[in-house]
């Protein structure tokens, strides 16, 4: 009899669980990729490049010197991690081959990312200075090329350039979109620039802030500095793009939350309709049970007794409807999320909120009918 409530609460439950699960998964993926949220990313090019940046799809406007200038001239920047990367690089180890992403990185990149070696060691400043042909393998690559053997000290070839494996990275899981973050090889940036890619520009610069509260000011300072260094006329557009992980995460989360809000809206609407149905049903019930009310009054029920009786009935209908709705909604959410292979977060506070709301609806929707029932004249009710 409370179909409206069941459907309404069910939709709200599903929306909440799906929304919350998606949000958490997105934030987790962003964290996997970026590790820290107190950074600003600088990419070459005016517009945001679609897909993952690579040396092959960015303009050559962001230079090594830009990184140095940001690190030395802007006091709010703690450190700068310049990056050269390319995807689809052929890797060979003995008779095994793989195709993977190669990142030329500085030691500051490693510390911003918080990367850790499982076997061997990470890249050092000496590797940078000597342009050493050494490589650290991501977990997926290490497994692909060396299976369960230790790759440390083994020779590999990156696009036919010989390197020595010095370590492997701890696994990082999935990034945004679910792609693996372990399908990667790290080499010294200096080596990448001069011995592998032979490019003098960067695909990305990550600037870590001293105080994440002042992201906006840092973005403005970096913009001003780069425009000056790139000799951009005042009316010219930026030839680089700044973004903060926080902003990116917010944008990604907002995209899903727009949908979630829409579903929430319709869920609330259906719940309101459900509440109206409870009122209607309770009023009909009071009308149909006039003689019962008269009889109960005759055998000694007070107005308060009748009021409480009908309030409890309304409450029971609402809470029952809500419980069924939560159950159906949670089942739906679990089914949807398992299709997406996203772990589902069943939010305890939401269930509490939904039950509380249902109790509220039950009392509010029952109040008027119960009041009417309590004020029925027993003499008239018994005559009918």
């Amino acid at each position: 009899m409370t179909v409206g409530l069941v459907v309404g609460i069910g939709v709200l439950t599903a929306a909440n669980f799906v929304g919350e699960s998606t949000r958490r998964e997105t934030v987790k993926q962003m964290k996997n990729m970026l590790r820290s949220f107190d950074t600003v990313m600088i990419r070459p090019g005016a517009s945001r490049t679609r897909g993952m940046v690579s040396l092959t799809n960015v303009p050559p406007t962001l230079k090594f010197e830009d990184a140095t200038a940001i690190a030395t001239q802007l006091p709010e920047i703690a450190r700068v991690a310049p990056l050269q990367n390319a995807f689809d690089i052929d890797v060979k180890a003995g008779d095994r081959t793989d195709t993977t992403a190669v990142f030329g990185v500085s030691t500051s990149w490693l510390s911003i990312q918080g990367d850790e070696a499982v076997y061997g060691r990470l890249l050092t400043d000496e590797d940078m200075a000597s342009r050493a042909r050494v490589a650290v393998l991501g977990a997926d690559v290490a497994k692909e090329l060396f299976a369960d053997e230790s790759p440390v000290g083994r020779p590999i070839q990156l696009a036919s350039v010989p390197f020595t494996v010095i370590g492997t990275l701890a696994t990082r899981g999935a990034g945004p979109g679910g792609a693996s973050l372990d399908d990667i090889i790290l080499i010294p940036l200096t080596t990448a620039a001069t011995r592998l890619f032979n490019r003098d520009y960067l695909t990305m610069l990550v600037a870590q802030l001293r105080d994440p509260e002042h992201t906006d000011a840092a973005v403005a300072d970096i913009t001003a500095l780069l425009r000056q260094r790139h000799h951009l006329a005042p009316q010219a557009l930026d030839d680089f793009t700044l973004s903060s992980p926080k902003a990116v995460a917010t944008r990604v989360t907002e995209a899903t939350s727009t949908l979630v809000r829409l579903v929430w809206g319709s869920g609330l609407l259906v719940t309101a309709i459900g509440a109206a149905m409870v009122i209607g049903i309770m009023l009909i019930s009071v009308g149909e049970r006039r003689s019962e009310i008269g009889l109960r009054r005759a055998i000694g029920a007070t107005r308060a007794d009748i009021l409480v009786q009908f309030l409890l009935e309304s409450l029971w209908a609402s809470v029952g409807g809500a419980a069924l709705g939560i159950f159906l909604g949670a089942t739906l959410a679990l089914a949807l999320m398992s299709l997406q292979h996203t772990p589902t977060v069943l939010s305890g506070p939401f269930v509490g909120l939904a039950v509380t709301a249902a109790i509220g609806v039950g009392i509010l929707a029952g109040l008027y009918p119960a009041w009417k029932a309590a004020h029925i004249d027993p003499v008239a009710a018994l005559r009918a």
Binding site: I299, G300, A301, R303
Partner: protein, 235 residues
């Protein structure tokens, strides 16, 4: 002891017209009396019964139950008096359809603030000859059986006064006779019985007749031919 003094009841009908249902009625009913309240439809006998049964208050006048003035009692107090002091029997039974016979009998305990007592309800059903129908719902019972369940229900709180409003009006004569026998039995236990009826034959078992016409008391008589248990002793 029920005592009415100069009781009038005026209703306002939906069209605004005023209807005098009772006009200046004064009446005393002693504990243990069996009174038949008689009159044609619209004579005011139901209004009088409702006032005596604490379901309604007089517009003017005084109603005392064992010395307690009811006319000025708050609604809640009247409910408590109904629960403990009065047992109602209605023409249309008024059993709750979703409760079994024994549950219907038990129901008034709830409003008298007493503990549920299935055993007592069974005993009362047994007394009205319906122990074997205890688990049945009202729709599964005949009219006579339903009214006997209603009699059992009226007794569960052991009220000193039973108000029966045309209790046999919906029953055939055999079933009506059984109900009247039950009322006679209750009277013999010392309960006050107030029976509303327009059936002369049924009224004859009452010891005293009160007649109403147009809201006025038109006749009080002691029935010397009463078939009540006391009647035999008197003659």
């Amino acid at each position: 002891m029920i005592s009415l003094r100069h009781v009038s009841k005026t209703y306002e009908r939906a069209d605004g017209a005023r209807v005098d249902a009772l006009k200046d009625v004064s009446l005393d009913i002693d504990q243990g009396e069996f009174v038949a309240l008689r009159g044609v439809s619209g004579s005011g006998k139901s209004s009088l019964l409702n006032i005596i049964g604490c379901l309604d208050r007089p517009t003017v006048g005084s109603v005392r139950l064992d010395g307690l003035e009811l006319a000025r009692c708050p609604d809640q107090d009247l409910s408590h008096i109904r629960a403990r002091a009065i047992g109602f029997i209605f023409q249309s039974f008024h059993l709750l359809p979703r409760l079994t016979a024994v549950e219907n009998v038990e129901l008034p305990l709830l409003y008298a603030g007493r503990r549920a007592d299935r055993g007592k309800a069974f005993a009362l059903l047994n007394r009205v000859g319906l122990a074997h129908r205890a688990g049945h719902f009202p729709t599964e019972l005949s009219g006579g059986e339903q009214q006997r369940v209603a009699v059992a229900r009226a007794l569960i709180n052991e009220p000193p006064t039973i108000l029966a409003d045309e209790p046999t009006g919906n029953l055939d004569s055999a079933a009506g006779g059984e109900v009247m026998q039950l009322l006679k039995g209750l009277h013999s236990e010392g309960r006050t019985i107030l029976l509303v009826t327009h059936d002369d034959v049924l009224a004859r078992i009452a010891l005293r007749h009160v007649a109403l016409a147009n809201g006025c008391l038109v006749g009080l008589s002691t029935n010397s031919t009463a078939l009540g248990p006391d009647a035999a002793a008197r003659t």
